[in-house]
Symmetry: C2
Subunit: 274 residues, 2 copies
């Protein structure tokens, strides 16, 4: 998908909400366990219900891999279902891959060709040649980890001895990589004050922002510090939406939570045009 | 597997060779394409032929994922075959995973419980809580990326402005993580001079060393700088062994290449006891 289409979708839906499908057999409503593929059914129902409130879907591969090849099949069915029925939704494989060139090449094939995701999250630790095999795909986006929302982010991403932060070095260096216009960045909302620094380095790229909701970030501050001329931010919410309920009325509860977030986003988006 | 058993195996087989199964449908001998599962057949034949020359098998997950759920099935069959027939071989899922805690937990389940690998490679970028869910498994090893063998390793792992190298920071910090005795490290052989620095920081842990062979590292120097009281090194070779031939005699050619490496290792191991 072209990034322009993502911005268009954000403006028309008045939402920059990304739905995170961290779908877990132990947490989905019990009545779905009678289905042939409970996780696929759960995902399908959520997407059918929420597609007007969201612009992107992020699928966390770990939750599928932990069910083995059966789970991988569910992953394939889920992305195929979205691409067939909601081709405008921007799809993210939250896979955090990254390896030497010939191996990253295979990961890119897996997610961009075999499953036709629009984007994938990638770890920058191994540098340019571990990321460039993803970047060479036209109209596909590679979302590298900048500053993540977890506690351990302070171990390496932020330098505590006062020298230059690693996550800033990642942002800076990555701008010189081949086809860097296909880059997006993960920037955790729990550190939304850092978003100003991020925007100084990468003013134009989209940011994928986890950590609003369950992880405690503030939406308004995130928006204010992250928005750019193309809007340029996707805010992901996973658990707070998909597990808003866990009974027969779970769809209603997840709709209420997604709608609450989208309504907040609507106000923020209207304000920049006011 | 207990690390003690790995050292015992190295001493009895006179080998610290790890076989990397970067098995690629486009590169395996053509006659195997008639098999129901050509990659599984290729892997099985190689392991049956080489198991006495090697102490570990490293399976590169990208090469399986790129074939979708069918490839994931092949991965499951391969690890099950090794565990049933060669339970002493140390198995490595070369997956380079790593995510926030609850997600790393699922990756650990996928590779340690569902597939029963002995170890997995993990990226350290997200810090302590992205790695500790793997470390909590008893008798399982987590192999974090220290210094990799690719060109891009110099982008972030090594600091070019003279400050403290990131890979050294990773080694140092990781020693304080919970259950850090279950850690091993990836240290590329193309930078074997760095092995001396590595050993100053982590004298006791095993190192997984890729990059001897196709990537150009030197075995003797690697051994000299990396060996510790438990031997403590695994040298991986993938392409130079598995694609030594690509015809009906491929097993013979791969055996010759693996035997050549093992014979070199035999001499190096004998010398330390001389």
């Amino acid at each position: 998908m072209n990034v322009k289409h993502l911005t268009d979708q954000i403006i028309s839906k008045k939402s920059f909400l990304c739905l995170g499908l961290d779908s877990d057999l132990n947490k989905i409503p019990k009545h779905l366990l009678n289905e042939v593929d409970p996780i696929f059914e759960f995902n399908k129902l959520l997407i059918d219900s929420l597609n007007n409130l969201i612009v992107a879907v992020k699928i966390n591969t770990a939750f599928y891999e932990s069910e083995g090849s059966k789970g991988w099949k569910t992953l394939e069915k889920t992305i195929a279902y979205i691409n067939s029925n909601y081709p405008k939704l921007f799809t993210i494989a939250d896979a955090k891959r990254g390896d030497i060139g010939n191996t990253s090449d295979r990961y890119a094939q897996a997610f961009f060709k075999h499953m036709e995701f629009d984007s994938i999250t990638v770890s920058p630790y191994m540098g340019s040649d571990s990321v460039e095999p993803f970047l060479q795909y036209e109209n596909k986006n590679t979302i590298i980890l900048g500053l993540t929302s977890n506690k351990g982010a302070t171990d390496f991403q932020i330098d505590n001895d006062g020298s230059f932060d690693l996550f800033k070095k990642v942002l800076l260096k990555s701008k010189d990589w081949k086809n860097s216009n296909n880059l997006m960045y993960v920037i955790g909302a729990t550190k939304s004050s850092f978003l100003k620094d991020v925007r100084k380095i990468v003013p134009d790229n989209f940011l994928l922002i986890p950590g609003v909701g369950a992880q405690g970030g503030d939406l308004e501050e995130t928006f204010k510090n992250g928005v750019n001329k193309n809007i340029g931010i996707l805010v992901n919410s996973s658990r707070s939406i998909i597990y808003a309920g866990n009974d027969k009325d779970f769809l209603k509860k997840s709709y209420i939570e997604a709608k609450r977030l989208q309504a907040e986003m609507n106000i923020l988006l209207d304000n920049i045009n006011a």
